[in-house]
């Protein structure tokens, strides 16, 4: 496998001029970030976020976030007396390219750590590379769980840190009895909806009160589905929509909701993938009251958050630039990595991986998040309502921080599993059989 790959690369380099020419023609050459010459007095930090293609809409901001955090850290003197240096690559929303670029970052640029990926499929694509070359990936986005890997640190929310508390809120506070689970057709919504369906049934919700609906990526004609939701909601029981609709499809979905006159007071929609960035493209006045569940909102007033927003807007020279949840996840993850490196007094991945569990770093909402042995972190959960100005108003939050579960308690087959890289050195330890291994091994 490896020899074959090396061979391929040799062939590629012989045709280097051709590739370069093609790259230029296609406008894909992103020269401003080409890696500089290796210098021994810097620590290299890899940034693996798509800057072109479909996911650029979300991931470009995260690239900027890491550059911003590195800049701030360097102002404080860097780490272990060395300056940090970002190596930015563009995997172009192309899943196999993610693996290729990850390999390039680790073998060619010799980065100490990589911050990157957005979609689960891109994370799955780079996983073998990180295992094989033994490096560290910080993954900042809420995901479907069911994973705990030695080389990956998950700073976004697991389902029990976003989906379940949101459903609890709707059940208790809005007295919702009927549920529409609407999502884009890929792994995150499918798994999350499976978890939610099991959870709702465990709370006594009947099958006929749950409607599950999937749509293709980038779906733009929502007329039928919104009409279906309206119909489903007219059964005399309070109805809510739990939306795992991804990225681009959200704007036409919300526009259709607004135009068909579905107000949040009638059928509230709680979304797991809609943040400040996504709302920047819509007029939010018809959407006031629809909900989102995150671990961070820009509108949360804490001194740390106010400073972060101010510095971020100064760094990007854009006083309107918004912040969002995955950015906070990178903020926490980056600071945890810095602390772990300082604790281990080395950037050696093995030492840093061992140092990370137990590391605490302040989050932006006034708490202190902690890296857990399963490589997930503790976070508070907030429910926010959309306001007329495109921001969120927090209407509910968990009393304390919620520990991220790598394996969902709701799903058959994963409820006995735990991830523990400290004691058991295993990502899928089965507590029933006391053995390492099981689903996902």
């Amino acid at each position: 496998m490896l020899t074959q790959l090396t061979h391929d690369r040799a062939t590629l380099s012989r045709r280097g001029w051709l590739a370069a020419a093609a790259g230029l023609v296609l406008g894909l050459a992103s020269s401003p970030f080409s890696p500089a010459k290796a210098a021994d007095d810097t620590i290299k930090v890899g940034v693996l976020h798509s800057l072109s293609g479909t996911m650029a809409i979300s991931e470009t901001t995260l690239k900027d976030t890491i550059l911003f955090l590195i800049d701030e850290q360097n102002k404080k003197g860097g780490v272990l007396g060395k300056k940090l240096e970002a190596v930015v690559v563009d995997p172009a929303s192309n899943w196999p390219l993610f693996a290729e670029k990850a390999r390039e970052l680790i073998t060619k640029d010799k980065v100490a750590v990589v911050f990157g990926c957005w979609t689960s499929v891109s994370r799955k694509s780079v996983l073998p590379v990180f295992k094989e070359l033994n490096n560290i990936l910080f993954y900042p986005v809420q995901y479907e769980g069911e994973e705990s890997e030695r080389n990956v640190f998950y700073t976004g929310a697991a389902p029990n840190q976003q989906a379940i508390p949101a459903v609890d809120y709707l059940m208790k506070d809005e007295k919702v009895k009927r549920w529409v689970l609407a999502g884009t057709d890929y792994v995150y919504p499918r798994t999350t909806n499976k978890i939610l369906e099991a959870y709702l049934k465990s709370k006594g919700v009947k099958q006929e009160d749950i409607m599950i609906n999937y749509t293709p990526f980038g779906h733009s004609d929502w007329q039928t589905i919104v009409a279906d939701i309206k119909k489903f909601g007219s059964a005399g029981k309070k109805t809510a929509v739990v939306s795992t609709i991804n990225g681009d499809a959200n704007v036409p979905f919300y526009k259709e909701l607004g135009n068909q006159g579905i107000k949040a007071t009638d059928i509230p929609v709680v979304a797991f993938s809609v943040g400040e960035e996504e709302l920047a493209g819509i007029d939010t006045k018809p959407l006031v009251g629809h909900l989102a569940a995150w671990n961070y909102f820009e509108s949360i007033k804490t001194p740390a958050n106010e400073k972060f927003i101010k510095d971020w807007q100064a760094y990007t020279k854009n006083p309107k630039r918004v912040t969002n949840d995955p950015m906070e996840a990178h903020y926490i993850g980056f600071n945890m990595w810095v602390k772990a490196v300082e604790k281990a007094k080395s950037t050696d991945p093995d030492k840093v991986i061992d140092a990370l569990p137990g590391i605490e770093a302040p989050n932006l909402t006034g708490g202190v998040s902690k890296m857990l042995p399963n490589h997930h972190i503790t976070k508070p959960v907030f429910i926010g309502e959309i306001k007329g100005n495109g921001q969120f108003d927090v209407v509910w939050k968990t009393p304390g921080l919620v520990a991220g579960d790598a394996w969902s308690k709701e799903l058959e087959g994963s409820k006995d599993l735990i991830g523990d890289w400290v004691g058991k050195k295993c990502g899928n330890w089965n507590t029933k059989t006391n053995k390492c291994g099981g689903q996902g091994s």
């Binding site: 296609l26 007329q223 493209g281």
Partner: protein, 537 residues
């Protein structure tokens, strides 16, 4: 709500208070305490305050609650004072009505959540039942219909007795029926009447009301409710077929709009133009730029922004189209594979260029007021933006057809595409016509972008989501035939919308693709194949 209305309202308010105070417990004396609760910034306290204020009979109740709904009510958490910012910008103390110079520095708007918004709507409903404006009375009656709050019964009945406006009378009758249906001590006969009134209302809201009233009713009433539900459901099922047809037309119009430009560049000229979607995207970004300029310089023109954007988008996309034809495509005529690769590369270049200039995130393109909202036609909801897009598409199609048929340029285009050498020997400058034809196709794609910006994301990826569908429509309809494109688009749209409720959006789309593959096997030239020598040329 206008200040003018508030004034008129105050004059009438006393009479409301008189009627309301019979039905509602009075909270005189505690009014100020109730108002102060708004300052606690706790949802439960706000809810208690709304209920106390709404039932207080105090003339300030209506201004307070409507200010709350419109986020004009602010509270100072320290002094527990609550203020109303009136529509004219003046500020008054909510508890006393006394004028105040300015808001204290730490006063913040009183926050609401969905539960409270419902409480506010219900409270406003019962407070505006006697409004002098019939439309307001109808809205109020409808909100009572939804909340069926027993306390409003006497007010509703009082209003009903005096009502002269037909629509308002109907709304009051229905509101009264809703209350009686849920009133535990109403007689069976009253309830039966109520069921039949609600049944004749006949929409999904009525269905929801009847379904939730179902349990613990006397047997006779329960039976009537079951019957009413069944009849409403069968009625709605019939309407849902009409609804699917409308959705199909609407989807078809979007497909058609995206595909017309391609029907020219690919259909008429035979250029496999993968950058077609990016022309649509450029049109959408032109709309964005136009709106930005209007927002900052001439805010009054916002409702005309789309009309201004249409010719500009045509010029921008058309101009770039001509440029592309002159600089790239003209060297590649007759080499479809190279054209495909070159235009695909071009589409990536354009996307990245837009991403660099405008940033990767979505841009907000607002909907002018005439593009927002919906109206009810029978039991289906028709949204204005979809309706306008359908009209717009048909207009663009008609203009294009007329242009090809009746103008000199149209004649030359047809001549060149049918027989290039013959046309050239008749003295037509074929290369000029090629450039103009490609420009025309691109320009129309740009116009499509203006319309699509109203329903979709304005992002660098906008074009990608339409390119496949556009090719599908053109190939299905028959390459080279505009009428084929029209019929193809509407056939696909309607088929898709009738499949979607049965198979789901994902499977529906797959089914359509499979059907097209089968169809193309049978008729490789599409629905309306061109015949004659032109095809062989």
């Amino acid at each position: 709500m206008s200040g003018h209305f508030l004034d008129r309202f105050r004059a009438l308010f006393l009479s409301v208070v008189l009627i309301a105070s019979f039905a509602l417990p009075a909270f005189a004396g505690t009014f100020e305490d109730a108002v102060a609760k708004f300052a606690n910034d706790e949802f439960s306290d706000t809810e208690a305050a709304i209920e106390a204020v709404a039932s207080s009979g105090n003339p300030l109740a209506f201004p307070i609650i409507s200010a709350l709904q419109e986020e004009r009510l602010s509270a100072d958490p320290e002094s527990k004072k609550v203020f109303i910012t009136q529509a004219d910008g003046k500020i008054i103390d909510a508890a006393t009505g006394a004028a105040v110079d300015k808001l204290p520095d730490n006063a913040a708007p009183v926050r609401l959540n969905n539960r409270l918004r419902r409480t506010v709507e219900a409270a406003l409903g019962s407070l505006t039942l006697l409004s002098p404006d019939p439309a307001k009375r109808v809205a109020a009656a409808q909100s009572v219909f939804k909340s069926h709050d027993e306390n409003s019964l006497s007010v509703v009945e009082g209003a009903l007795a005096k009502e002269t406006d037909r629509a308002a009378k109907q709304a009051f009758t229905e509101a009264r029926a809703a209350i009686i249906l849920f009133k535990s001590d109403a007689s069976d006969n009253d309830k039966l009447d109520a069921v039949s009134v609600i049944k004749s209302h006949g929409d999904q809201e009525a269905l929801a009301l009847l379904t939730s009233a179902g349990p613990d009713q006397p047997p006779l009433v329960a039976q009537a409710i079951t019957g009413a539900i069944a009849s409403i459901q069968s009625n709605l099922a019939m309407w849902s077929a009409v609804q699917n047809a409308w959705y199909g037309l609407s989807l078809g119009s979007v497909l058609l709009l995206a595909a017309i430009g391609l029907a020219i560049t690919f259909g008429v000229m035979g250029v496999i133009n993968m950058a077609h979607g990016e022309m649509v995207m450029l049109g959408a970004y032109t709309t964005f730029v136009v709106q930005e300029v209007i927002r900052s310089r001439y805010p009054g023109l916002f409702d005309y922004s789309l009309l201004i954007a249409v010719p500009l988008a045509f010029l921008v996309a058309g101009g770039i189209g001509v440029l592309i034809e002159r600089s790239i495509i003209r060297f590649l005529y007759g080499r479809p594979l190279e054209t495909l690769l070159a235009t695909w590369g071009l589409s990536l270049v354009l996307q990245q260029a837009v991403r660099t200039v405008f940033g990767p995130t979505n841009r907000e393109v607002g909907n002018p007021s005439w593009m927002s909202g919906a109206f009810e036609l029978g039991q289906i909801t028709i949204t204005y933006n979809r309706l306008w897009i359908l009209c717009f598409t048909l207009a663009v199609f008609a203009i294009l057809l007329a242009m090809l048929r009746y103008t000199a340029l149209g004649l030359e285009m047809r001549a060149v595409t049918q027989n290039r050498r013959m046309a050239a020997s008749m003295g037509i400058a074929t290369s000029r016509v090629d450039a103009l034809t490609f420009g025309l196709g691109s320009g129309i794609a740009g116009i499509a972008g203006v319309a699509l910006s109203q329903i979709d994301n304005v992002s660098p990826n906008l074009g990608q989501s339409y390119i496949i569908d556009s090719f599908m429509v053109v190939v299905f309809g028959g390459v080279g035939n505009l009428w084929g494109t029209l019929v193809g688009a509407f056939t696909l749209g309607i088929a898709n919308k009738f499949l979607e409720p049965v198979a789901g959006a994902v499977l529906g789309k797959i089914a359509i693709l499979v059907l097209i593959i089968l169809f193309i096997q049978k008729r490789p030239r599409g629905l309306f194949a061109l015949k004659g020598r032109a095809v062989e040329a």
